[in-house]
């Protein structure tokens, strides 16, 4: 299988005002297989968004190689970034037009992905008329309907409430199962990463520190204790790297209630 993304010795430095330069990406090597779901896990400021910007072509100033193949890139930002003066449907038309998708296919693509995310009824709504969760789902539809080979996602659910985020994560997995896109998903939430990914790369201070393959079979259930266990291990290992100290150990008793799990997730999984 040809890799969809290949990054070699990628280095990026920012120049500060005082003339000192700071390396944000330190000789990264990365290879993502076609159809793979990769999560990059790390604290804020570790360089994960910068990496995505390079992959998306938003940032062209770097050293080393970053090659993306296997089709167009779709991007889901942390915020929906919808054009507020356009309706839901017009927002989709805007990207379909700018990506030069043949107009004959627009209707099919729009209705397919709107239906997948339960937004079919909301075509004529303006972004301010729908909830934050719906707006983010619409942004997902927007990213999908240009038929990208690769989907880049930058903490797309971190601004949503847990219930909504969980629903969209499940939606995302079923869409991924159907379309088999390559996904690079950046997050600071270890539990989310373990639920979604085939492979997790822990990033800290501009470098990958650790790689974990997620052995849990699909379809996965969000409440699967194995996910919880794994996310604990990921964090523990991360703690041992010693870069970013994470507060105390996880309690011995394994929580069985979903709500408990969420509280633990919120308290300890967010590194």
């Amino acid at each position: 299988m040809n890799p969809a993304i290949e990054v070699a010795s990628l280095r990026k430095t920012f120049k500060g005002r005082d003339g000192t330069s700071r390396a944000v990406l330190k000789d990264l090597d990365l290879s993502v297989g076609a159809g793979e779901f990769l999560c990059i896990l790390g604290p804020s400021g570790c360089g994960k968004s910068t990496l995505l910007n390079v992959l998306a072509g938003l940032d062209n100033v770097y050293e080393g190689q970053a090659r993306v193949s296997g089709g167009r890139v779709g991007y889901l930002f942390q915020e929906p970034r919808l054009l507020p003066w356009l309706t839901a449907e017009q927002n989709l038309d805007f990207v379909l037009g700018s990506c030069k998708v043949p107009p004959a296919r627009w209707e099919e693509l729009k209705s397919r992905y709107l239906a997948m995310t339960g937004l079919s009824e909301y075509r004529d709504y303006y972004p301010h008329q729908i909830s934050g969760g719906m707006a983010q789902r619409l942004a997902l539809v927007r990213a999908l309907c240009v038929e990208p080979g690769i989907l880049l996602m930058d903490e797309p659910f971190s601004g949503l409430d847990e219930i909504t985020a969980r629903r969209i994560r499940t939606d995302l997995l079923s869409i991924w199962r159907e379309t088999r896109k390559t996904i690079v998903f950046v997050t600071h939430n270890a539990y989310e990463a373990c639920f979604l990914a085939d492979r997790i790369l822990v990033m800290s201070d501009g470098a990958f520190r650790q790689e974990t393959r997620v052995p849990i079979t699909r379809p996965r259930s969000y409440d699967d204790p194995a996910i919880f266990q794994l996310s604990r291990d990921v964090i523990k290992a991360f703690d041992e790297i010693g870069r970013e100290p994470v507060p105390s150990a996880v309690p011995a008793t394994e929580p069985t209630l979903v709500d408990d799990l969420d509280r633990h997730a919120a308290a300890r999984m967010n590194i």
């Binding site: 998306a56 072509g57 938003l58 167009r72 890139v73 991007y75 930002f77 915020e79 970034r81 054009l83 507020p84 003066w85 356009l86 309706t87 805007f94 990207v95 037009g97 700018s98 990506c99 030069k100 303006y126 301010h128 008329q129 927007r142 240009v146």
Partner: protein, 246 residues
Amino acid sequence: MLKLLSMVAAVIVWGLVSLTLPPEIFPGPIETARTLWGEIAKGDLWTDLAMTMLRVVAGLLLALILGVPVGVLMGLSRRAETVLDVWVMIGLTVPSLCYAIMAFMWFGLNEGAAIIAIAVTAAPSITINIWEGVKNVDTRLVAMARVFEASRPAIVRRVLMPQIFPYVMASARFGLGIIWKITVLVELIGRPNGVGFKLFYWYQLADMRQVLAWTLLFTIIMLLIELVILKPIERRIFAWRPQVAV
């Protein structure tokens, strides 16, 4: 509805206050309306009104042509901002009377000079509005458009312009408010017709009825333009905006 009530109340107060003073000094609303009606019946009021309107519109257009590009430039380039910001301040500070005198002395007592004086006075405040607007452009939306392969012209037209347009609208309205006032002043100094000329003429004859009649006429026209033209345009263009409940 409330708006109408407050206007009616103001007219009543005007009427009551005018009762305490002789009509040559402070005529009441009925007296003023009658004088205005007399002027309208005579017919030559329309020429003055038309000339004033012409100057206002031409002045506003020229002010936008001068003010918008400078504002855009200042919003986009930090260097332009540093250089121009003091000049915008100076432009704002110089009294409109100075601009009017300079324009008439340099370019002669003609229509062009009047319009230049009007435009130069209003341009700095238009610039400030646009400058603010361009600085507030959401660059995250621009990044979004770039990721989705939008071309440069498409980004300008479909992502930047809709963000800047509200500020152009606001600055045009704001500019209009300034321009009404300057136009009258410019006409008073250097034009042989127009509302300002008439006001000055009646002022010299100490005819308070006429002065108030012309002021009333001017105000009514202004309100009509605001309510009949500008408001509906704005409502149509900004239909997508959420209603703010206060």
